[in-house]
């Protein structure tokens, strides 16, 4: 069972994962048994009843009510059993324990942001404690997204104008990948994040130290870290190549012409307004697809990113 699981399924790292895997295994194995039965019968008939001449006499028996009832009723029992099993596990997946630790999740093209109760927002990294139920309250800023952690066997759509939730309890510390599984445009497949499971005390420590730049880190380096973590690099290159948005290379101090024909020199004020209110000035030749980072990046974070952009000459 475990061997089969590791062949087909990702590692099981949440309390509910083992239940889901057990049911997946039960259905798969039962299916294989019935399938092989059908296959053997078919191949046997092909061999045994191979046509010998065009005048072969064949059976006239064209129905058997007992047989029809048997092969209808046995599957009915099987599916009701499987349905019930899936139903009870589904309820478990859908009802978060009352003491669950809550994290707010914002999905937007094409990144995730995780907000903690201390006010800190962590872009594209979900930090959680091991052995404690975590409930995610999710919303989308634009189109549909879907929040999926294969290792935890959880998934739920993230919808604009509406809150949806998922919960899980991680059983081992480490990192797992988070995917977006509802198609959302150009960089849908790059809308990745990771969940980092800490031991309880490490999580508390992280929570205390989170938010803001480590004391010994230069501002531009912190900006670089945010550039990778917040999803900027999905659309903005630093080597001059054209992605979804303009490259950072040589950006600072250059003159930018916008889709409405106006133009500005890219200074600190312009970059900050582009981050907080991206649709106001869209550089000519690009689509107005950047989401706002209002409420995700703090003023200090934005200062750091500006410093980083200044270095990309």
């Amino acid at each position: 069972m475990d061997k089969l699981g590791s062949l087909f399924l990702p590692p099981a790292k949440s309390t509910n994962a083992a239940d889901v895997d057990a049911l997946f295994g039960f259905i798969s194995i039962t299916s294989v048994i019935i399938f092989v039965g059908i296959l053997i019968a078919t191949i046997a008939f092909i061999i045994i009843y191979k046509r010998k001449s065009d005048n072969d006499v064949t059976s006239l028996n064209d129905h058997n009510t007992t047989l029809e009832i048997v092969w209808s009723i046995i599957p009915v029992f099987l599916i009701v059993y499987v349905f019930y099993w899936g139903f009870t596990d589904y309820l478990k997946l859908n009802i978060p324990p009352a003491n669950a630790y809550e994290v707010q999740v914002i999905g937007q093209k094409w990144n995730w942001a995780f907000k903690y109760n201390n006010g800190y927002t962590s872009p594209n990294e979900l930090h959680v404690p091991k052995g404690r139920p975590v409930k995610l309250v999710m919303q989308s800023r634009d189109v549909l997204h879907s929040f999926y952690i294969p290792d935890f066997r959880i998934k739920h759509d993230v919808i604009p104008n509406r809150y949806t939730t998922v919960w899980f309890e991680a059983i081992e510390s480490g990192e797992s990948v988070i995917f977006c599984t509802e198609y959302c445009g150009t960089s849908h497949s790059d809308m990745l994040a990771k969940v980092i499971v800490h031991e309880e005390e490490d999580f508390q420590k992280w929570l205390k130290e989170s938010g803001g730049r480590p004391a010994d880190m230069p501002l531009a380096d912190y900006g670089k870290m945010l550039y990778t973590k917040s999803g900027c690099q999905t659309c903005h290159s630093t080597d001059g190549s054209k992605l979804v948005g303009p490259s950072y290379k040589g950006l600072f101090g250059s003159k930018k012409t916008f889709t409405d024909g106006s133009s500005l020199v890219a200074d600190e004020t312009y970059i900050k307004s582009s981050i907080l209110n991206p649709s106001e000035h869209v550089v000519a030749g690009f689509a107005p697809v950047m989401p706002t980072y209002q409420g995700i990046l703090s003023n200090d974070d934005i200062d750091a990113i500006i410093e980083f952009i200044k270095e990309q000459k």
């Binding site: 296959l39 599957p75 150009t186």
Partner: protein, 579 residues
Amino acid sequence: MSTSSGINADLGLKLKRFVTPDHPEVNYAQAEKGIKAWLTTVDHKKIGLMYLGAIAFFFFIGGLLALLLRAELWTPAKTFLDADAYNQVFTLHGAIMIFLVLVPSVPAALGNFFLPIMVGAKDVAFPRLNLLSFYIYLAGATFSLYSIVTGAVDTGWTFYTPYSATTGTSVVSMTLGVFILGFSSILTGLNFIVTLHKLRVPGLTWGKLPLFCWSLYATSVIQILATPVLAITLMLLVMERTLKIGIFDPALGGDPVLYQHFFWFYSHPAVYIMILPGFGIISEIIAIFSKRRIFGYWFIALSSMAIALIGFLVWGHHMFVSGQSTLSSIVFSLITFFVGIPTGIKIFNWVATMYKGSISMRTPMWYAMIFLFLFTIGGFTGVTLGTLSVDVHLHDTYYVVAHFHYVMMGGMLIAFLGGLHLWWPKMTGRMYNERWANIAAFLIFTGFNMTFFTQFILGAKGMPRRYYNYIDQFQSLHQFSTVGTWVLALGFTIILIYLLQSLGKKGVIASKNPWNGRSLEWLTTTPPVLENFTYTPVVIHGPYDFHKPIAEFEYGIESHGHGHHDASVHHSNEESVNA
């Protein structure tokens, strides 16, 4: 009932035996000549062939797009297409294969050609409507192609809102194309229902109807009831985009989940539009090539109707993680499981039909066996996906992609190929090269499993669908899947070559009943004459009564009146007997 006088007494008709020759002096294709005659024909057989040509063309396009997609996935990130191009290509692949190929494939091509012949009619009930539906299909297809040229659509074939309401690509024209195509589907369904009710020849009771006709009947019911909902949905989408009326887009005050309900209310029954006619073909093939009465005739016939009706009540299983209520999900899951029962009944009855049969493994039978193999896997994985807790993990992953390719391609498309090989001699008068046909079937079976079984594993491991980029650990499985598509492409290329070759000068002439069938299409000439029969057939035995001598299937009554066609193209009855 072994003598003709006994038969006369039973039905109260003046019966005569009509022995049609293998080949007519003038077949349906020769009866009216020239391009104009084809374009304005109301002959169901010619319309069926025109559909066949159009569907084959779109299958070719959709297949090329699939090869592009798989080639792009050879490496993570960019291999040779950029992300936007990839997203447009998978949208077009899906939309073309679903709306232009799978939905019309069997009903509009093979159904149009054979349903009237199988009920002994001269044509469908409304021949002009039939021609109209073909032109509506072409118009819808043109609209769809237009949207390719004017900046392709990148929403996926599901057009989910609010993404489809905000993207800058030409969703409106693509949607209108699909909207127009829906009417073609409705008209075909309407035509078949009336034909089956009103145009069956004497003696052809519902219990003697070939199972292919039963499956088309069930399909037509869904086409008429479900397709208008698709039209409504797409119309609302167009209104939202053009008039800014908030229905689905939350930015305008709409509800995106409502769109999914509308969409799947059509698109789930549409899955059965796509698969039920395939079931019908498989029933015909297994009976003929086992030379045996079909086992459980009524169970197979009525399970199609059961699937058609239950199929309307399961759409919510596409939405277990969409934000619909937990209670809805639970109810939809339970009903979904019950669609599995009539499907299972069919599979068991097909296998039981082979028991104590006389099995001849000719090309159509190979396709029927490939169908059983692939479709059964598709069915079982459908149970996995219908299970609530397991679907949470598998939803929108490659597991779903693999599942519906096993059902749609491994099921419907393989059944279509089976039907094409079963009826090719009847349609064209030529027999294809069976050795090459078997090689092609083997390649398609192998390539298909390489391509799509791999995707079950990818999906279970968590690979999401519609991904241009992927994490490195999936690469070897993706590459294996891609190699499978090349094997598939080789198989389809071989089919194209030997079918075209059979039409050429060296093609082998087929007899009128090469497989020793008993339903009416095997009793007319090859290819059939313009109005199918030179007499009105009278049906005495069931379509699978292979133990009765063929002579007892050849009775009929004199045909009176010639419909709207020129009488000069008809033979007299005596000529047919003497020829």
